[in-house]
Amino acid sequence: MTQLPPPSAKKLGLVIDLDTCVGCHACVISCKGWNTENYGAPLSDQDPYGGDPSGTFLNRVHSFEVQPEEAPAQLIHFPKSCLHCEDAPCVTVCPTGASYKRVEDGIVLVNESDCIGCGLCAWACPYGARELDADAGVMKKCTLCVDRIYNENLPEEDREPACVRTCPAGARHFGDLGDEDSDVSKLVAERGGFDLMPELGTKPVNKYLPPRPKDVATPCAPLETVAEDGQGFAAWLDRALSALPGGKS
């Protein structure tokens, strides 16, 4: 059913550290790999080796430039996937009931055999978290690797989303954001984790940790002239070359 369930006690989600992310896109690739080989329709590519490549991704890394008023610009890598919103607008708009939010852990999923591929859920999502697969004709989105996190056939350390497992910088954290004492909740409280587009009232479960304040960098002054009245070979050479026609004094 596309009616949202009452808020679950357990809220599984991701915490993404914008301070630590190095923008390597490893999470993008591991996500595409796992989700192409496992649950649901594969994430197809169109013209992958041609002139106009395009494909379905559940996780994409943007890079933003932030220009403070009095300091050098910062480059911030910004991974973005489904935020598993508590008030998920993508769920309630679905005409078929294919889109749903799980009662037990709050994960937002698509039942692909019920999806008619109308695309309205992607229109309703402000974050661009849903992509209609051009090959399968059904809506694809982050499953929070629901087929990994509860999978007892995997070693325990692998029972987390592929993106989290693969991140070499440790910029992605997975856990229960409904539990105030969980590691992820503590991290959010400690670092001032925030919501994306809070004004839209979607109440995202995933949180982003802001970049830590940078050391105050003194703006570089132009290099001073080393020696106006130089002596020695280099100075003689400078004077001699400057004296030639076209040379600068």
């Binding site: 059913m1 596309t2 009616q3 949202l4 914008l18 993008v28 106009d52 490549p53 395009s54 494909g55 994409r60 890394v61 943007h62 890079s63 933003f64 430039e65 932030v66 403070p68 008023e69 300091a71 610009a73 910062q74 911030i76 910004f78 973005k80 607008p89 708009v93 679905c94 005409p95 078929t96 009931g97 019920d114 999806c115 008619i116 591929g117 109308c118 695309g119 309205l120 992607a122 229109w123 309703a124 999502c125 402000p126 974050y127 661009g128 992509e131 209609l132 399968a136 004709g137 059904v138 809506m139 919501d195 994306l196 587009m197 809070p198 004004e199 839209l200 982003y208 802001p210 970049p211």
Partner: protein
Amino acid sequence: MHPAPSVIIFTTFSGLGFGLLFWLGLGVIAPTGFAAFIWFAIAYLCAVGGLLASTFHLGHPERALKAFSQWKTSWLSREGIAAVVTLIVMAIYGAGLVFAATPFAILGWVGALGALATVFTTSMIYTQLKTVPRWHQPTTPLLFLLLSLGGGALLAGQVSLSVVLLIVAAAVQLFAWYTGDKRFAQSGTDMQTATGLGDIGTVRAFEPPHTGTNYLMREFIYVVGRKHAQKLQAIALVLGFIMPIILLLIPFSHIFAALAVLSHVAGVLTLRWLFFAQAEHVVGLYYGQR
């Protein structure tokens, strides 16, 4: 937003068809026999043709029946139900006129109400989206309803009714264009709220996630639509409203009436194209484009 032809054709023609069904149901025109058959055929051709066109953009149209199940939350589901109920009720009402020359007035009123409900639910599919600030305002359903009623009256040959409705619709459309231009800024969603990085400084999209395009960019970012917006607005205004009104006000002839309908349809197609092409989705912010 990408102006998909299937959705433009759907909203334009089903709007006209259900508008005509509304006036037929109210009994403003109550033809009988073969004439009634022609009237209803025109209305059903528009309404059903439009609905069928809307299935062309589905990834899996064969599962369309499932779309009737989620009426509790989904405007798209409600629209499907309203459309089918209205078409069934009006088919019975129409059969009464065609075969028995008897208008079952109550059925007609129920059908007319259903036609209004169908157009309203269609408009709410767009109006509900907070992600598209230009659509998320009361003028959207008002305009869909006025255009449907005005176009329906025009199809039904109701001169004074359609002139009045078209003038009101044109005024609301002008107002919607005027306020629509300011909606994105008023929505409070910008690069700062999208990224949460505004406390540090001015945010600019530096590098997109991939060098190529993707579904989101194709679907939601349509910059070309805004380039000629003003010219297209003028064309839509002339074709959709001014021409039909002039053609209706000069002494009546069937050719002028037909031209008025054709001009109006072309105008509505233009403004519906703009409705999509001009609308900006907030996801474009992440790409530094709208």
